[in-house]
Symmetry: C2
Subunit: 568 residues, 2 copies
């Protein structure tokens, strides 16, 4: 990790920079926040020439340590108008680290409205004009690139939604099967990549090797310890068997899984999408579980086959089954799997688009439960009809179009499939995270219906999330005890980089990341005033526990006072 690649799309020029020394222990989300703060004026238009897209693998991505292969994308978000980071698994992070690349900074916009790819191999990076790739869906795009550059490439790409600068668009990353199934989905970062004219980044790291840590034995030993810890964790065991849908039964009974556009209440035949059912159906069709990243132990990603026994979609996740399923009154597994594939092809966030479609249902444009109409809307998104393009702009936009005021968003972003009335700590995160409504920014289900201690839980989870997002670790592979995680992380960092830091320094990576992000947001006009969830979450009681989100506002606003924002 000894270089930063800078891509100037106005000059069509690539330069290489040596990162400053104080970037040594900055990677992923933390590095992205630091660079954006230094280089992007906070009030720029997110699709304007002054915004930049930062691509940064985690700090241990190229090593043999498992579950560290996540890659971060950062920019000012066209959806939230805040700083934003979204990360994904797949193989790109490992390849970039093995090529010695700490970050790619993409700036400016091409003078001509054309499609380009960035091709990176051990010799360096090139910008290649690729008009023939324009408009391609993600799977076809990746196949074309694999035919052109070899099966072993890693691909970071946008679908037609990113090209059309839709604010629900994603950045896709190929998984271990070479499929564009892993998405940095939140915040519309695909539109930023689209505004830069980049259809794909192709990474060819064919003859590179695993990164050797400075202290090999110590590293190996810690990896072994981590593996032991994960083997003991019930959550990991359950994820390995059933993937993220393993939680549907519990969360839907708690009320946390949204249904009927967050009105709540039972959805008929919900057992069709329980983790156990999916596993059974999928096995009978020859589907399987896999690790989205090289070396992952948890292997929670579902490679799902259709009725014909052929591959239908990969990474059929809980959030998708809830936001395109239960929240729309839909429990047809095959229909949701088909929608998931369509979203991956288009390059749109299943949470944002699912919630936007719930708004159409709320307004009566289509009926709750009508899965074929939902598939129709996604087809329209492909065809670029006005209605399809509206949904591609996300939930708040669709609600405004429809004149609705019950809008499940925070800081402009759709609330994911953890209802803050049933999981109060994640509600605090939705209010206060610099990322807006993002469950991966800090979630904790302990005592989740109570108001007690949730601000502290959110605080700790946010800092741990920011730390692991900077290290490229997968939050699904986290031990239940956060402190254990910090201890593993510090050992791995010291062993790889020869540093001598302590667990609290790793915590500080998280703290400093949030500090940088809040600083950017402050300059972009965000204040504590915005730490608020939509009225319906504060007023409408959620079945079955009849809870509202009612953590006192002063507690929420004080969340970072002690750690991130020191009292002066």
């Amino acid at each position: 990790m000894n270089k930063i690649i800078r891509i100037d799309m106005a000059e069509l020029k690539v330069t290489t920079e040596k990162p400053p020394h104080d970037y040594q222990l900055l990677g992923g989300r933390g590095l992205s926040a630091r660079i954006l703060n230094a280089e992007v004026p906070a009030m720029v238009h997110p699709l304007g020439h002054e915004n930049k897209l930062v691509v940064a693998p985690g700090l241990l991505a190229g090593t043999m340590a498992p579950s560290f292969g996540r890659i971060s994308f950062g920019a000012k978000s066209p959806l939230t108008k805040t700083i934003k980071e979204a990360n994904a698994g797949g193989t790109a992070a490992q390849k970039l680290d093995r090529l010695g690349i700490k970050a790619i900074i993409i700036q400016e916009r091409p003078k001509e409205n054309q499609a380009y790819i960035i091709y990176i191999d051990p010799k360096g990076a090139q910008i290649i004009n690729a008009p023939d790739l324009s408009g391609k869906m993600n799977y076809d795009l990746v196949t074309t690139l694999q035919n052109r550059y070899g099966k072993d490439i890693g691909v970071i790409s946008i679908g037609p939604a990113g090209e059309a600068k839709m604010t629900a668009s994603t950045i896709a990353v190929t998984d271990q099967d070479g499929r564009p199934s892993r998405h940095a989905a939140r915040g519309g970062l695909g539109a930023v990549m689209g505004s830069k004219g980049i259809k794909a980044i192709v990474i060819n790291a064919k003859d590179t090797k695993s990164i050797e840590p400075l202290h090999k034995e110590k590293f190996k030993e810690t990896v072994r310890d981590l593996i032991e810890i994960l083997k003991q964790e019930k959550r990991s065991q359950s994820l390995s068997k059933f993937g993220t849908p393993s939680v549907i039964q519990f969360l839907s009974q708690l009320g946390s899984t949204p249904s009927w556009n967050y009105h709540g209440g039972p959805v008929k035949n919900i057992e069709n999408i329980y983790g156990e059912t999916i596993s059974e159906v999928n096995q009978s069709r020859g589907g399987r579980m896999h690790g989205c990243m090289p070396g992952c132990l948890v292997q929670c990603s579902i490679v799902f086959n259709g009725e014909d026994g052929q591959h239908l979609t990969s990474a059929l996740e809980y959030e998708t089954l809830a936001m395109l399923g239960t929240n729309l009154g839909i429990t047809s597994l095959d229909a949701v799997a088909q929608m998931d594939r369509m979203c991956d092809e288009l390059g749109v966030d299943t949470i944002e688009v699912g919630s936007a479609i719930a708004q159409l249902m709320e307004a009566g444009v289509i009926e709750f439960g009508d899965d074929q109409k939902v598939i129709g809307i996604l087809k329209e998104l492909r065809e670029g009809s006005p209605m399809g393009k509206i949904v591609g702009q996300g939930t708040a936009f669709t609600a405004q179009f429809l004149g609705l005021d019950r809008v499940p968003v925070s800081k402009g972003q759709a609330i994911p499939a953890h209802d803050p009335r049933a999981c109060k700590a994640v509600g605090v995160t939705y209010c206060t995270s610099p990322m807006g409504a993002d469950h991966t920014a800090g979630i904790d289900y302990r005592d989740s219906l109570s108001n007690e201690g949730q601000v502290k839980r959110s605080h700790d989870a946010q800092i741990l999330s920011a730390a692991i997002d900077s290290l490229g670790y997968c939050f699904l592979a986290m031990p239940t005890k956060g402190q254990l995680m910090y201890e593993v992380l510090v050992k791995l960092l010291n062993a790889r980089y020869g540093t001598d830091i302590k667990a609290e320094d790793v915590m500080n990576i998280g703290i400093n990341t949030i500090k940088d992000e809040l600083a950017f947001n402050h300059s972009a006009g965000w204040t504590d005033v915005h730490n608020i969830l939509p009225e319906f979450l504060r007023m409408e009681k959620l079945p079955p526990h009849n809870e509202v989100f009612n953590i006192p506002r002063d507690e929420i606003d004080s969340i970072f006072n002690k750690s991130v924002i020191p009292k002066t």
Copy 2:
């Protein structure tokens, strides 16, 4: 003006309140700001049940004083998400004042999704269920109401756009001819009225009389002085002859009249829409000038006839001729007049919708200069097609839909037909006014290309505008010297109300209004960070003077430090 009428649309209940004594010299915009600050939480959704719509005539509306008949509408705006006031002429303010009504506060929303009217006469106010009126265009609506309640009523109404809660929707007020041609157009307040389920407010003040001031002779004398002042003003003379289009020749040569979506440069046959040409054409067709308000001396409103000699539209204003004309590359007088009528019928802001259509042209969806396609889009707005409804949501929304980042808005609102690069003082107003991009909030063309003294000019103009908007005076009838205006206002207020205030107290009405508005906006998350115009206005040189908007940011941010925000 001894009562406030409160309409609760959830309970369908009308109550009458005695205004507190300190409201005595508060009317129009100032009263609206005070009430909204006291009663509406700043972070509410503008279309939610907690927002309120305040209707408040100016303080002298029911007297014989000329040009004081404006009426203010205030709410949290669904377009800007700030506090907003928009005012209009017409006859409603005079009638309300003569009925003793200082303000109407409309709160909550009906439980059933139905259309209602508010009927007000000397006996009081009633809420009347009127499902048959739903969906009606403004002219047809008003005719229906006149047939039902008599020719002499004043009508405040929304068109189909307000009913559909479009954020470019207006509130219409009938003029002296009984036509819904005067619009409180900015900020989408029609959508707030629509969210309350109110299609129209009908005011029957048939047997009421002109308000007698406490000191009649003093009042008459001051009115005579004001008339003398206005007769001397060149601007009034020109407005009387040619209306607001009298400025097109001068402003287009200065570059201030936008053309080609603010890219600037000459538009062919622009002389077709010069004030002199319009007057000539209109006279030959039997059209005329009229005063939109009772007793107006300036009479700048154009009652425009079509080629067939029949009435086509009233109030064909400069802003409309620029935003639906030159800025779209269109100079066909009859086409723009037809668009103006369509916008009045639909109840949409010609500035906001015009600028939204310019975005469609920028994106190549329709061609610059194609007036028939523009008329087609307005027809689609009527029919409720997705594209029509997108345009009805205004400029920023349309730009996002199209993936464009060169967006001529400030605080979410379309910049009107005074380019801030050619009129720097109005640029400062667009940045700093609590109203966002609103030329009526403070405009001054003195030395308009220079950077010197523009912050002071904007400051003074904003305070004077806030004062006259609170008194219901028309800013087109203002003497060039602001101080003269304050002197007239104080004499009229003292004569009407028997008070003993000074000119500086009238200025304080303006200062306190802006103070209240900024306080609301602060609580709604607006900070100095937002005092910024879009990049293109700061970077792209505007022909013919090749100016950009480059008033230093610290000067802009300090605008209210001395007056509105006292240093502590």
